[in-house]
Amino acid sequence: MTTPPPATEPAATPPPAAEPDEQPGDRRSFGDILRLAIQENTVTITVLALVTATIIGGLLTAFTNTTVLTAWGNFFSAPGNAIGQAWDAAFGTYWALFEGSVFNPHTVAALFQQASFSAAIHDGFLSAVFNPLSETAVQATPLILTGLAVALPYRAGLFNIGGQSQFIGGAIVAAWLGYAYNMPFFVHVVVCCVGAFVGGAALGGLAGEIKARTGAHEVIVTIMLNYVMLYFLAYLLSSHSLMEAPGGSNAITLPITSNAHLPLLAGTHLRINAGFLIALAAALAVWWLLNRTTTGFEFRSIGANVRASRVAGMNVERNWTLVMTISGGLAGLAAATVILGTDFTLNPQSYGTYGIDAITVALLGLGRPGGVVAAGLLFGALHAGSPGMQVATGTPVQIVQVIQALIVLFVAAPPLIRAMYRLRAARVGGLSTTMSKGWNA
């Protein structure tokens, strides 16, 4: 039975229609809706979504594996073998993912086989034990930052699909400052990071400003900006007079100077670097901004109800521009952590799939900074483990993208999960309520 919200008549309607209708013109942000759902059983839903996506991913790995398919071809003569092969394929994949992202027992064995402990440490065997975790952190860093770049505007009711363009904007500035100038050690890193923030913020701000001035939907503007920046980057890297490294014909910049590298955190054998701290700090800053400042209150208020905020005297347009600027800056910072932390050059593929991954991170993170960090670490682990998994089991790395999309799909549709697991609905509607706006809103 449904629990009707206060100030409405007892729900005489069937459960799917028992929408909390005390707020006609529902314009709550995804975050607020999520918060509402959290008071009930969102944790359960999220966990079940993870489990479901894992199971489906496992089935997919098992039944696209040629060995397994052959075994199932002989199902009636050897059913045990068929099931066993399927289990092995799925479990092997997940175990390889785990080994690549969290802990690999072989590395510990190798550590203890060394003659002396200090020599083992010197040769990097101790580092090897922590390498999976380090890789997870390295992969999670840009995911957290770009995830924040989606989550923050989401709280203000905007959907930023332009992570890619803002990432490229930041990457261009960071790389250019990195290779074209020589500055003292600490100063150079800071200048590059600030530059990347500004580069991303410029693009985010542009999208926000267009929305604020004309009302053009930010989704279409940011998608178009993604392509603009993609070709602009290719253009910059296509000519020696622009950013292409002299001498070669590869579309790649000069390597950035070592003074502009982000400092490593755990010795030279591990790639974990200060970028991870930047990501955590940014998450903290976004939390503080949203929950402890007037600006953040205005963001959330606008996300909850644009018209009420306007009536209350908030400058909605200025806040749209502001939130998109900050968000663009966060995506730019993500680029800085990639360019200055791991890649050290800029090429036409530097932007990877961060634009899309960011959306899944933000949605799984329920639009909240803490959630984004957790989701970023989870997906970072998947990314860190996937290359090793492909080598070890032959399962293509794209399985990670499938699992990510499935998780978010299930998280976004709690009624489906409830129906699947026969959960008692605490309140129908909850998370499934939408932002209710069209292109021109």
Binding site: G25, G215, I223, M224, L225, I359, Q401, Q404, G438
Partner: protein, 441 residues
């Protein structure tokens, strides 16, 4: 009891917000059109005219044509100057119209836009071919444009139908990609191109079913949902491609035939028009049929009237007995068939075998074309052709070694889209209930 939609969307009661006429006025206002025309004229004169030299030859006959049309040889610089002067004259005409001296009807205004665009392209081509030994084949350019635009056109028509029914479809990209994938596999496995076409269409429809289910039944935010579905399809096809189509099965599962062009008798022999419009693959003719069907269906049939009612004011539609949800389900799923056919074009219509992410964002371009085309079938087709034209122009120009940055040319349509979308807001409204779930009370 009302839905959130109805109270929210009553047009008269809404405060205009940052859009409407004020926005247009701020964005350059009434003088935007004449100024733009004059700017195009100046570019024709100062950029193309000043740098053009020699004669340009434009040919209008494809190879092996029965009827040949004589080539047109123009003095490059003079042609550019003439184009520029005419454009400026048209700008002045438009200015007089704005000032109220003369009155141009809606039709004439559109003719002016078309004329200015035509003159600009003519000047560009003449400048590009000026002094070159090879004649510039206009017919090849146009027929290439038409066939390259097929997926964008079909995707945009899908978008038009979904939007008109009140559902935002961002999953066009996913529909195209899955259509391409399934068509390739089905054709390879069975050897039947028509079966491949049908499977491609069904694949598009499958994504449509997911979209409809989550958007209509679970009321997930439709913009988010579309992006997540795209990610899911991207990951799934990429995964299956690597797991199944690269190794043992690559010859049996990813090696389809392609449709041959079919020239319509008589019509196909008309000079210029024939080879462009009546000498293509079956996809081109399907596009004509779908375009005609959509236009006729939406504006002249009971189905169209009801669909528009469902998208504009679901409560009213429900009151008069139209089954809103059933209409939305049916339209979204049927529209998926169209995008699926568009996806099939990528494999069995042009290159044959499937490659990961081979649609490369054309679904998003289709989305932009839909908005650009003011949610009308013919407008969407026109916008889709504009995108196809720039891509085609870029490849033709780079093949004749024109000193123009291909990346900047590729970037141009996206910038134009941003400007147009920003400028059109307030003048164009999508269906009022687009993206707003309907909750029957």
């Amino acid at each position: 009891m009302t839905t959130p939609a109805s109270a929210e969307r009553l047009p008269v009661l809404l405060s205009p917000g940052p859009r409407g006429d004020t926005a247009a006025a701020r964005f350059g206002g009434r003088f935007a059109a004449p100024i733009t025309y004059a700017l195009f004229g100046l570019v024709n004169i100062l950029v193309f005219g000043a740098h053009a030299h020699g004669d340009a030859t434009l040919s209008f006959t494809p190879e092996f044509a029965k009827v040949s049309v004589p080539n047109l040889t123009l003095a490059a610089a003079a042609t550019c100057y003439v184009c520029g002067v005419i454009s400026i004259a048209l700008g002045v005409t438009r200015l007089l119209d704005v000032l109220g001296v003369i009155h141009l009807g809606r039709v004439w205004r559109r003719v002016l836009v078309g004329a200015v665009l035509f003159l600009f392209i003519l000047a560009l081509l003449v400048w590009a071919d000026g002094g070159q030994a090879i004649a510039f084949n206009i017919v090849n350019l146009l027929s290439g444009t038409l066939s390259d635009s097929i997926p964008i056109m079909l995707g945009a028509l899908t978008g038009v139908i979904c939007s008109t029914s009140g559902v935002i479809n961002i999953a066009i990209e996913g529909q195209l990609l899955l259509g391409a994938f399934c068509a390739a596999i089905a054709t390879s496995a069975t050897g039947s191109l028509w079966l491949g076409l049908i499977c491609g269409a069904l694949a598009g429809s499958l994504v449509g079913i997911l979209l409809a289910l989550f958007a209509i039944a679970y009321r997930v935010d439709q913009v988010v949902l579309g992006v997540v579905l795209n990610t899911l399809v991207l990951g799934l096809t990429g995964y299956l491609y690597n797991a199944l189509l690269t190794g043992t099965y690559s010859n049996t599962l990813n090696n389809p035939n392609t449709f041959n062009p079919f020239k319509i008798p008589l019509l196909g022999d008309i000079p210029i028009i024939g080879p462009v419009f009546f000498d293509g693959t079956v996809f081109l003719y399907i596009t004509y049929i779908v375009l005609a069907g959509t236009q006729f269906g939406l504006t002249r049939t009971r189905w169209g009237l009801r669909t528009r009612a469902v998208g504009e004011h679901p409560v009213a539609a429900d009151t008069v007995g139209i089954r809103v949800l059933a209409y939305r389900y049916r339209n979204v799923i049927l529209a998926g068939l169209i995008a699926g056919i568009g996806g099939a074009y990528f494999t069995i219509g042009s290159v044959g075998s499937f490659g990961p992410d081979m649609t490369s964002g054309e679904g998003y371009i289709a989305l932009a074309a839909m908005i650009f085309g003011r949610y009308t079938p013919f407008g969407a087709i026109g916008a889709a052709l504009l995108f196809g034209f720039t891509t085609q122009l870029q490849s033709v120009l780079s093949s004749i070694n024109v000193p123009i940055q291909s990346n900047l040319l590729l970037l141009a349509p996206y910038v134009v889209t941003i400007i147009v979308v920003a400028g059109l807001v307030g003048k164009v409204r999508g269906p009022r209930a687009e993206g707003v779930p309907f909750i029957k009370s």
